[in-house]
Subunit: 385 residues, 2 copies
């Protein structure tokens, strides 16, 4: 295990009916800016419950935060927060709204050009407005971490930042509010969480059995409960387990003291930027190919994954690795997320475009050993044509 520092101060309020508990978490007297996305919270009751919980506060609203939230849109919220001297932000939605809240929180108190936060990274942030979240879509883990990914719409640049100043003060996770999610969002969320785990688990070298087993526990749970969330959409216990798995997948804990990969995300981001694919769709395409390309380097870990996650104990090492990669791909498909470029009407020209975009961004030494270069990326995507 490598040395590490771990600190996650976000308070989790989990369970049906927990939105009402907001009232005690938002500082008394703070003017609140409520942030949300396309408005689904108005049809599923979340909006009304949040407003009721905030009845003792002055509340402003800013809706319309997009998936892959736009820098340009968020800057409008920054202006509003400054102008109205907002004291607390409340993100109500999925990862995009929460990621947006993190940026708004930091940018509202940043004196320079707010694009610095994305171009130079979280180190420029000295302070941020406090904020909480009400999560409506289990997927990104943003509700319990300090990371955010924002897209500059004008240039299609997708950039992330991390800062200890942007952990949510609290996050409300009410699985009952996820019962009405469209199947596509359920599938995407499960795939996103699964790949978050894989980026921290399928790495080497690592002598970290606790982190490994926690990661395997999340993968097994997502494999077990994810399909049930589609086939038994009214099962609240299933939704609760999916929701908690997605939060635990990226709250820092399974990644302490171990190398982290993130190449699948880096490559996937370019597919979203170029073709507008959902984030999880890009991950489903990229990961199986990357696993194949890294099969020699990650042989031992792939065999562990095959046995512990998929129960594959028969056959020789290579056949078990193949079977584990196939099983991964089939799981994504089972969640309704095609795992090949052709599933989205894309062909080999997309591979050229992605590689060119990665090269332009200088992202040509990906993975925890910086060994996923343009050729490896091309090979991985070719396996997912």
């Amino acid at each position: 295990m490598q040395n590490f520092e771990f600190h996650n101060p976000t308070r989790i309020l989990f369970g049906q009916g927990q939105i009402a508990a907001l009232a005690k978490q938002v500082p008394a007297g703070a003017k609140v800016l409520m942030l949300y996305g396309g408005g689904s919270i108005k049809s599923n009751g979340v909006y009304d419950e949040v407003k009721a919980a905030l009845s003792g506060h002055a509340v402003l609203e800013f809706g319309g935060i997009e998936p892959n939230p736009h820098f340009e849109t968020l800057m409008q919220a920054v202006e509003l927060a400054r102008r109205e001297q907002v004291g607390f932000l409340l993100a109500v939605g999925g990862g995009s709204v929460i990621d947006g809240a993190k940026f708004i929180a930091a940018a509202a108190l940043y004196e320079g050009d707010a694009w610095d936060i994305l171009s130079k990274g979280g180190k420029v942030i000295q302070a941020a407005l406090p904020f909480g979240s009400v999560l409506t879509l289990p997927a990104t883990g943003s509700e319990m971490n300090s990371a955010s990914v924002i897209t500059r719409h004008a240039t299609q640049e997708k950039r992330g930042f991390m800062s200890r100043h942007v952990y949510p003060v609290f996050s409300v996770l009410d699985p009952a509010k996820t019962l009405t999610l469209p199947a596509r969002q359920v599938g995407n969320g499960v795939v996103d969480a699964f790949v978050h785990v894989m980026e921290q688990y399928l790495t080497y070298p690592a002598q970290a059995p606790v982190q490994d087993r926690y990661a395997e526990g999340l993968l097994l749970t997502l494999i077990e409960e994810g399909p049930k969330a589609l086939s038994q959409p009214d099962d609240l216990a299933v939704r609760a387990n999916v929701m908690w798995s997605a939060t635990m997948a990226l709250n820092g804990l399974i990644g302490v003291g171990v190398p982290q990969d993130w190449s699948t995300h880096m490559i996937g981001h370019e597919l979203t930027a170029l073709y507008g694919l959902d984030h999880a769709q890009t991950l489903a395409i990229v990961l199986p190919g990357i696993m194949q390309v890294q099969r020699e380097a990650k042989r031992a870990k792939l065999l562990q994954y095959a046995e512990r996650v998929w129960g594959l104990r028969d056959g020789n090492d290579d056949s078990r690795i193949d079977a584990a990669i196939d099983a991964t791909r089939r799981f994504f498909e089972q969640m309704g997320v095609p795992s090949r470029l052709s599933g989205y009407g894309l062909d080999a020209s997309a591979i050229d475009a992605v590689v060119t975009a990665l090269e332009a961004a200088g992202s040509v030494h990906l993975g925890e050993h910086h060994d996923i270069d343009s050729a490896a990326t091309r090979a991985a995507l070719t396996l997912s044509l």
Copy 2:
């Protein structure tokens, strides 16, 4: 899964050499009271490293905090902290020193009779001095939770409290500092951590696959690494995994949203109070008997434990449960901790004494379903004669 609230603000600094990182964690200008136990930190280098890290601070010292720390001793430290207007406590040692620090932190700012904190519980605490810890003995998990157990020496009353005000601000976990621990403390620590997990895992009903698998991951790691810590005492990687397992065993995470038992601890506390057995020794005696006594009620969970933790898949249900309980007992013995009363020179008269003490304390409805009464306690201990 039941509704829950989770918030653990302790910062973990993990790894070899991390004591030096203390310098940045202790508030500048704070007068520090350094707390420790019997003085082993002076022979293993920890004392010197801590003093060096605190060189920029005014530091007072209070040593001699006992295992099962005494209220009477701690009150002397409370007086010192008040008299010297100490601003920060630093516990350097194992769970007893950290538990002691929590009590001192709360009592120093408590205006009434400090025994209230133990007799009435943590709810009386409105504030506490901030404190950090340098852990030297992986076992209790106190370094990343808000619980403390203190003994009033005069009356042999052992009482616990919990309060959100007594999370350590930070804890330094340097596994290299555990290399010189005596085998008895290593064995005790692994058994203590193992039973912490079991008290949160071997419960019902629970539909919490993430928590189950996290718990199983810790049990498997302790089973795998614990004996190596005895047989390969110089292996730093093993010590790191044991240390992190023990912290994760009782930082709240595996216990969210699930019922918790704690009957083994309650019964064990009386064995310590009456006969001075080490805490872990009492747990090793009590748990196997409690598992037998609860075998019908906890049948499904015991079968899950048998299969997932001990790999027991053959034979009928009852034989697998028996084998799992036997394996648990053998594991404790392998760690050098006898699991029968006779191993400590005790006989059936100890059972009478424990049951009498529990009845006197009103502790006669133990376990998550309050169904472990005096007869069940007697039966459990009789199985461990």
